[in-house]
């Protein structure tokens, strides 16, 4: 019990490097040898951070990004988990769908943007579809792997108990695949968040953190760009933590996987 506690305590040595870096930053920017647009003086950086955090446009952008992310993630995850269950449970479906999915998966995510914008316009629809696509593959892959790895012993128990296919799916395969599905949903969320920022940044229309970031870069505002970067890292971290906590409290089914080991 003492070890995890001891590990959780912050090692003070880790603070030295960031402190040294910020000291170096301060000194170099004060001497003014470097381009002040790039190496923003700390005072200006702080002012930029405070100004941006009081900027209503920033919060509108963050809100729309978040909404877009959740819509796309939800759609992509539902589709991915559904397909993963089918592919993972039925041999024939796997043989039919897996090669095509593998082929489509090889295309870099953002390479779909030109096609999506041509079909759905430079707006929200194309962005949400791209985000859903980003979430779809990890969700589908992990669900399929979870179903495939459901212990054969348990399936046989189901057969011995003469459970119908629906009961085998609901009481045996899904609980056994649950940890894998949950981690798939987590990866899907991270992937969807990257997709959100990238899609907004590339399409550059409407509201969104990516659009905000892009215009801050156009204005040569390093302080605002850095603020956005910190903000989207924090949002990503907060979302995945929230998801982990949400699932951690209610997955008693995890005990089943011990059989497999």
């Amino acid at each position: 019990m003492t070890r995890p506690l001891a590990r959780r305590r912050i090692d003070a040595r880790g603070v030295i490097v960031p402190l040294g870096l910020s000291l170096g930053w301060t000194v170099t920017s004060l001497t003014g040898h470097w381009n002040p647009h790039l190496l923003v003086p700390p005072a200006q950086l702080a002012r930029g951070f405070i100004a941006t955090s009081h900027n209503g446009d920033f919060w509108i952008a963050a809100g729309s990004s978040l909404l877009r992310l959740l819509t796309g993630w939800f759609a992509g995850s539902v589709a991915g988990v559904a397909l993963g269950l089918i592919v993972g449970c039925f041999t024939l479906a796997g043989q039919i769908v897996a090669p095509s999915l593998n082929a489509v998966r090889q295309v870099a995510l953002f390479a779909w943007i030109p096609l999506l914008t041509a079909w759905f316009g430079d707006g929200n629809t194309a962005e949400v579809i791209l985000i859903a696509l980003a979430a779809f593959f990890p969700a589908a892959l992990n669900t399929e792997a979870g179903c495939r790895n459901a212990p054969i012993v348990l399936r046989e128990v189901g057969r011995v108990l003469e459970l119908g296919p629906r009961d085998i799916l609901r009481r045996i395969i899904v609980p056994a695949a649950m940890p894998s599905i949950v981690s798939g949903l987590q990866i899907a969320l991270t992937s969807a968040w990257i997709g959100t920022i990238g899609a907004e940044y590339l399409i550059d229309q409407g509201h969104g953190l990516g659009v905000f970031l892009s215009s801050a870069r156009m204005d040569n505002r390093m302080d605002v760009v850095l603020f956005c970067m910190v903000a989207l890292a924090c949002i990503g971290f907060a979302l995945s933590t929230a998801l982990r906590l949400a699932f951690a409290t209610r997955t008693p089914a995890l005990a089943l996987t011990a059989v497999d080991d």
Binding site: H37, V97, L115, F137, I194, C228, L232, A233
Partner: protein, 279 residues
């Protein structure tokens, strides 16, 4: 890291079963797999042809299969596609070389020295939390939109997977193997040669594979945003001109190149690390 697991399907007969079957049966299983796998692509092709034949969508929005094929022949004959790919792969090569060597060195050093890890580890791990795409605007402000930008962003994309995997590989070598090395009174070089490198190599090769895949994805974004050449540029430019047939060809080219690079890396993985050490 997301793309490491392949879609297998429980269909794949296990090695044991396959060996037990006669050769002709194994052949028919392969053909069955090919035939089943072809259903979806053929259905898509049929729907696509039908939609084009019925003029369901304007040809600018949905070019027909023949138009796409003609565009592919044109691009191959004029050499535009090959030139674009050469430019992109050249960038990947330089960026990957820089980023993965730096990542390898950093990962090995931090893996070996717990003191240095205590100083630099937390900072590096915090930076890991920020996706590469979020660094793009910062890099654009620092490096402009020239060739340095592409190399820098690819190097950044390659650095982290390489660092993390090398680190994990070097750390996993600890324990029993080091005890054996001590018992045999190995010097530091022998220890590196017989313990650290063999046990870290599988992870390092995996890191390189992830680095390459990351680099390819990021490069496409950078080239679409700011580049006068490369496959991403070809795609974005054709989209601007509304030549969707060319866009289709570039999508296939991007997928095929990504697949080929990954297949090459997987082959290298098998060649370089046929052993697997249970740590």
């Amino acid at each position: 890291m997301i793309r490491a697991i392949p879609f297998v399907g429980i269909a794949n007969p296990s090695g044991l079963q396959r060996r037990a079957r006669s050769r002709s049966q194994a052949g028919s299983i392969v053909w069955r797999g090919v035939a089943l796998g072809a259903i979806v692509p053929l259905a898509v092709l049929a729907t696509w042809s039908l939609a084009v034949a019925l003029h369901a969508m304007r040809p600018q929005i949905l070019p027909g299969p023949l138009a796409v094929q003609a565009a592919a022949t044109d691009l191959l004959r004029s050499g535009d596609l090959v030139t674009a790919l050469e430019v992109s792969l050249g960038r990947i090569l330089i960026g990957l070389a820089i980023g993965s060597v730096l990542g390898l060195v950093a990962g090995a050093v931090l893996g070996r020295s717990r003191t240095l890890d205590a100083y630099f580890g937390p900072t590096l791990r915090t930076i890991c939390q920020i996706p590469t795409i979020a660094w793009l605007p910062v890099f654009m402000l620092i490096f402009g939109i020239g060739e340095e930008l592409k190399v820098a962003i690819i190097a950044k994309a390659a650095f982290l997977p390489m660092l993390l995997n090398t680190f994990a590989g070097v750390r996993s070598a600890s324990g029993r193997y080091h005890e054996v090395a001590s018992a045999l009174e190995f010097g530091p070089l022998q220890r590196l040669r017989f313990v650290t490198i063999p046990s870290a190599l599988p992870m390092i090769v995996l890191g390189l594979r992830l680095a390459l895949s990351n680099a390819w994805h990021v490069l496409i974004v950078v080239e679409m945003l700011a580049s006068p050449a490369g496959i991403g540029h070809l795609m974005a430019w054709s989209r601007t001109l509304f030549q969707l047939d060319v866009v289709f060809v570039t999508i296939v080219a991007i997928g095929a190149t990504g697949w080929l690079m990954d297949a090459a890396m997987r082959a290298a993985e098998r060649r370089l690390s046929p052993w697997s050490l249970p740590a």
